[in-house]
Symmetry: C2
Subunit: 343 residues, 2 copies
Amino acid sequence: MNIIRPIQLFEDTVTILDQTRLPREEVWLELVDYRQMIEAIKMLRVRGAPLLGLAAVATVILAAIKYISDDDFVKKMDAVCWEIDASRPTAVNLFKATSQARKILHGSINSREAMEGFRKLYTSLYEYEETACQRIGINGAGLFPQSKKLNLMTICNTGSLATVGIGTALGVIRTLHQDHEVQVFVTETRPLLQGSRLTMWELQKSGIPATLITDNMAGWVMKTNTIDAVLTGADRITANGDSANKIGTLNLAILAKYYNIPFYMVAPVTTIDSSLKSGSEILIEERDPGEVSSIGNQVIAPEGIEVFNPAFDITPASLIEGIITDKGVFKPPYQLDKFVLWG
Amino acid sequence: MNIIRPIQLFEDTVTILDQTRLPREEVWLELVDYRQMIEAIKMLRVRGAPLLGLAAVATVILAAIKYISDDDFVKKMDAVCWEIDASRPTAVNLFKATSQARKILHGSINSREAMEGFRKLYTSLYEYEETACQRIGINGAGLFPQSKKLNLMTICNTGSLATVGIGTALGVIRTLHQDHEVQVFVTETRPLLQGSRLTMWELQKSGIPATLITDNMAGWVMKTNTIDAVLTGADRITANGDSANKIGTLNLAILAKYYNIPFYMVAPVTTIDSSLKSGSEILIEERDPGEVSSIGNQVIAPEGIEVFNPAFDITPASLIEGIITDKGVFKPPYQLDKFVLWG
């Protein structure tokens, strides 16, 4: 399949595709300092839960290159891990990656051994994510009858740009596209427009028929078209199945329930954070009001107004028909601390 | 109350506030040719169901000024009425206004008498709309308990900019604000951003506390705040209560139902089109794909993609707690051909 590699690790540098400049420009940035990587994470130049895990390890590696000969290597690297954790407070993949990096850091006899460990972690995580997407695609596609024309809806970007593999929700769609006639409705995903900028770009590149809509058209599209399923990614899934994902996901789940359309969360099992019992324990990142009151350099609201800008919302388990993972499809009631698989 | 007059008729000209340039610039246009008015209607320089009725009559008057001495005055004016009808296919107020103008046209002995009739129609419609908004405000405010802090949600613009009066949904909010502590959540209303551009501007001017959100945040705001009611305008209400309004209204109605929040349609009774039995008979205007794939001059999606851009959606009567009008508040089951009032 025609997919893109949005992060690439080299000897002393990391190359990333600057996703904030898509779809107009395909700009690749060569980063040499770990702080550039943290800036790229904060500014969403790299984004998407699985890709963020890799970006975190790449950040650790760039920092380790910088500090490898310093006496206080461990102390400095610990601080870097905290900096990474603080860059995006909702994405569990960041914390999982830094947690593994910390184990390597404190379990190594010196900075060279730690560095070797970090690079192995990167490679194994990369391979894991790539394979996970493939398995997710197969598991998700298995939910749909053969040779049926499928109308699907998705939000945000969950493709190669978010995962390094074929994608999560988009991975299922790509897999379905191999032997189904597929039509995808993509919500633009305000404020940052990952749907219109990134998903439409990926789907166009892959030749998968797609139609762009604004977020507030979703109900009307469900009413006027036969939608077979809504497929979205997830940034964090708790033990009871409540799931944090891009703001707007909750809207789609409620609308899908009203129209009796199955709503699926799609994510690798690494997105499950079984230390959290339910969604009420998830911290929701609030971002700059300017993301809502302007679009790019264009101001679209009066100055000095109040804005609410949560980056995520939490979809309750009761609205989720199934959670499609690399380890299988979970069905309610969700008891994800036990990883009980369905089907 | 601090309200604005977005259309003003003079001897030979019509002055309008160009709503496409708000909130950054307050540009007043002086129009002398009826075709400029039609362009202004099409481009949404004037918009909002009640204001469109007035704009239609103003268009007729400018055309009558142009053709008053022509032999084929009636034929030319008939053609103008068709042009007006074709400019925005969903707004019933346009058709009602041209229908009245046609009656005057064909019932007058000459062009001077017709002109006099058009001007009287304009004045009486203006007064009707202004009074209707005031009554709507009082009727709507009566639904809420005294001295309670109210969290309200609205979409698009239904204020002075849309109505020449205090507004419909915004008229209720303005009236409530006189003796309640009010907090309004305003959805930005993509693609044309009437919520962020116009409603936030009006509410700021009137000192009514308001918070701007993107359309896809509505569910999360309902989940995390106590919302007392959703109030929206309506462009066309059918006999059974099904209502066409700005795209995104249906989303809000479904979300409100899920969270047990009362959802009210707010409009003068002139918006009721009892010749239509249900929403399935309403024609939905589809607008230029460019409104979705770009914002202002900024392209936000790849070139050559498919876009779906319906300007309105239809909210089924079953989701509507009440229809607040100048003649009272209708409650389900709606039988609006009989105008049975509630309360």
